[in-house]
């Protein structure tokens, strides 16, 4: 079980759509250090505010699982390499580990990654960011509490006035 990551402590009740069963990876892709760093990374991308952030929603486990199961070897290695180099970049930029940085420092670092001329670095970042967004938006918490997904709409209305808020309705 890849579950050892953080011992799954105090999983809030609403996060139980991802049981230990569903977050188990078929292969252990990341070391525990890499996994912890990934958790900080996804939390920086989507932080806790008045609602839970990506880390509390276990998005880092989702990212790891997706890369382990659905991507090819070179992408997997790039994830590992990217994580390994992240702390080095943090040290260089603000002389601390990524995890020890404050929000502004972490954000600055991610902006730097996004603009990087090193394609491996850029790919690493866009992979993590895209999967973080996907994992967050398709988490049970977000779908049931924030975007109000309807499993059984029971209807289709073709022309309704635009409401204040759009809702996503994936399958």
């Amino acid at each position: 079980m890849a579950g050892a990551v953080g011992g799954l402590i105090s999983l809030p009740a609403w996060a139980n759509g991802w049981t230990t069963e569903t977050v188990r990876s078929s292969q252990q892709l990341l070391s525990s250090g890499q996994a912890e760093l990934l958790a900080e990374l996804v939390e920086t991308i989507i932080p806790v505010t008045d609602t839970p952030g990506a880390k509390a929603l276990n998005v880092h486990k989702f990212v790891q699982k997706m890369v382990a199961d659905c991507y090819d070897k070179s992408t997997q290695e790039n994830l590992q390499k990217g994580l390994d180099s992240l702390d080095g970049l943090a040290q260089k930029s603000y002389s601390k580990s990524f995890a020890a940085g404050d929000t502004a420092q972490r954000t600055a670092l991610l902006t730097q990654l996004a603009k990087s001329t090193d394609t491996a670095q850029k790919d690493f970042y866009s992979l993590v960011k895209n999967l973080t967004i996907r994992g967050y938006m398709s988490s049970e918490y977000v779908m049931t509490n924030l975007t109000h997904y309807q499993f059984i709409p029971g209807h289709y209305y073709g022309c309704v006035p635009v409401q204040a808020k759009a809702t996503s309705q994936p399958k």
């Binding site: 199961d69 967050y136 029971g154 209807h155 289709y156 209305y157 635009v162």
Partner: protein, 570 residues
């Protein structure tokens, strides 16, 4: 061999045998048992019971380990089936994995299959249009295949018959190219689709945009409640199996109905190897079956045999049924068995954007979309290609969020997507021309895991298809322009044949035994107690989806078969 057991033979003898339990086999089972025949239904795949065997039917999006994306190992192991849009984490269990039943692509052909009780009826997209006389008399008019031995009038009552039971929603549009049926209420339009419909109607008198006709119960009738089915709830995850029976499948409808008669014996895991022909009796007496678990061969016997293994597999079974009398496949006196296979051309699409109707949007989901019936070469040959195409059409409102930032800003933007404009899309459904050079054959050496020769598929597009793609792209572009759609983009996927999943022919119907395999009752000219009523029997392919026609042809043939049996004709 030697001490053949008479009791065992009696035990394995039925009034009728149906090979396959998919869309057409389900109807054969229902009709034959309903008329009192003790019927054995042989299905090569496993049993799939309505509701209980739909493992992902109630799975929420977040419960899928990979959010419905396929694992790499699944994709790598299944390059063919992975191309099918309906194959994803939630439906893997219903599709044949590439290694399970190998075949030879003499030319590239993506053969998409569902081997289980219910066949492909579990995963199909449920579009159901009648064919018209333009389709049935097309070959006679422009000479691209042999004449059909039937016309629309022969099959119209049978369309009505199957529509009422299956539950087909649609609007009565009064079009000669697309006869109306026995419809439940149609699905709803959205405003941009309506806008397009009106623009097209305003400009062209022979082009129409109508609501798709689909096998969904929009308003259940007593006959649907009797089947234990209920109103469609608009989940649009039908291909995982629907617990409401909201759409038609063999599993929710025909097979349980046949079971209720007490006359059906359903035998899953039974791969039919061939049909047994008795030269003394001059008729088929039964089938040879390989048990897919034990690989043991057993024989079953019956007065009549319905072959409903889906087009390519029905060809395979007949090609593999050789005897002194029929060295080239059962009933193959003409030599046309396996030839003139055809399909639908789904290669092209057109998409665009629309910035009108911005004050409205849609709510809910719809398991269906509008449809543009064929308008080319209908009344006369006007184009530089034979036949025509229909098209799917739909519109929806997009929403997007700025994903450039990170942190609280990104979160805010993700949770408050902005409504974008409307997007519109269309895909083509073209008729392809049955040709002798498009054929199916058995490989001389390579066998499948059941010891049966592998099927060799040699089917390709031709120049006619390319011309049709081009015309479709041009015409849809013109219609989209007329409607004020912007950013029009055309595409041609150049995908191999097969992904349309509408393979047909090889055992075609016709008036003349010298050029066809089946007569007007889908009965082998040369072996009167064998009926082929799936896609294999199709003389030409029309532009419409085919499955409703398989249902109607099957019900009609079963009715004839039982009458003929009683009169001692088969």
């Amino acid at each position: 061999m030697s001490n053949f057991n008479i009791d065992a033979q009696a035990l394995n003898t039925y009034d009728a045998i149906v090979v396959g339990s998919g869309i057409s086999g389900g109807w054969a089972a229902k009709e034959l048992t309903g008329k009192g025949l003790r019927t054995l239904v042989l299905e090569r795949g496993r049993d799939v019971r309505h509701v209980t065997d739909y493992p992902t039917t109630n799975t929420q999006p977040w419960e899928f380990e990979h959010r419905n994306q396929l694992k790499k190992e699944v994709r790598d192991a299944n390059p063919i089936i992975s191309k099918c849009y309906a194959f994803y984490e939630g439906t893997e269990q219903f599709f044949v994995k590439d290694a399970e039943h190998p075949y030879i692509q003499e030319k590239p052909f993506d053969w998409i299959r569902g081997y289980q009780v219910g066949g492909k009826s579990l995963m199909w997209a449920r579009q159901t249009q009648r064919w018209s006389d333009f389709d049935f008399d097309g070959p006679a008019r422009d000479g691209f295949a042999v004449d059909w031995p039937i016309r629309y009038a022969d099959i119209a009552p049978w369309y009505s018959y199957v529509e009422k039971f299956a539950g087909i929603s649609g609007n009565k549009d009064g079009l000669s190219t697309l006869p109306d049926g026995e419809f439940l209420p149609p699905h709803e339009w959205n405003c941009v689709e309506k806008h397009f419909q009106q623009k097209v109607a305003g400009k062209y008198k022979d082009r129409h945009v109508i609501m798709g006709r689909a096998a969904h119960i929009t308003k259940p009738q007593p006959i649907h409640f009797q089947q234990g089915r209920a109103q469609c709830q608009h989940r649009t995850i039908c291909e995982r199996g629907c617990p409401f029976g909201g759409y038609f499948s063999s599993n929710s409808s025909t097979i349980p109905w046949a079971a209720k008669t007490g006359k059906m014996t359903l035998r899953p895991n039974s791969v039919v190897h061939s049909i047994i022909y008795d030269e003394k009796k001059g008729r088929a007496t039964g089938v040879r079956v390989v048990d897919s678990n034990t690989k043991q061969m057993t024989e079953y016997y019956a007065r009549i045999i319905f072959l409903n293994a889906a087009a390519l597999n029905s060809n395979l079974v007949l090609l593999n049924s050789t005897s002194h009398r029929f060295p080239n496949g059962l009933g193959n006196d003409s030599g046309v068995l396996g030839k003139y296979a055809a399909f639908h051309n789904y290669r092209a699409g057109v998409s665009a954007e629309y910035d009108g109707n911005l004050d409205s949007t849609t709510d809910g989901r719809r398991p269906n979309s509008p449809y543009i019936p064929r308008f080319r070469n209908v009344h006369k040959q006007e184009m530089g290609f034979l036949r025509g195409y229909a098209a799917g059409f739909s519109a929806g409102r997009s929403s997007h969020s700025d994903q450039s930032s990170v942190g609280a800003d990104l979160k805010e933007s993700l949770l408050n997507p902005k409504l974008g404009g409307w997007y519109v899309g269309s895909h083509m459904m073209g008729e392809t021309i049955p040709k002798e050079s498009n054929y199916l054959a058995l490989d001389a050496t390579q066998k499948d895991p059941f010891g049966i020769p592998q099927l060799k598929i040699s089917i390709a597009y031709d120049d006619n298809d390319d011309k049709m793609v081009k015309d479709y792209q041009e015409q849809l572009t013109e219609m989209f322009t007329e409607a004020g759609f912007k950013n029009i983009r055309v595409r041609d996927s150049h995908a191999s044949p097969g992904l349309d999943i509408h393979e047909m022919g090889g055992v075609r119907m016709g008036k003349d035994p010298k050029t066809s395999m089946l007569n007007k009752w889908s009965q082998l000219h040369a072996v009167k107690n064998v009926f082929v009523t799936d896609g294999a029997c199709m003389t030409s392919t029309s532009t419409q989806n085919p499955s409703l026609t398989y249902m109607a042809l099957t019900a009609r043939a079963a009715d004839y078969a039982v009458k003929a049996m009683k009169q001692g004709l088969v």
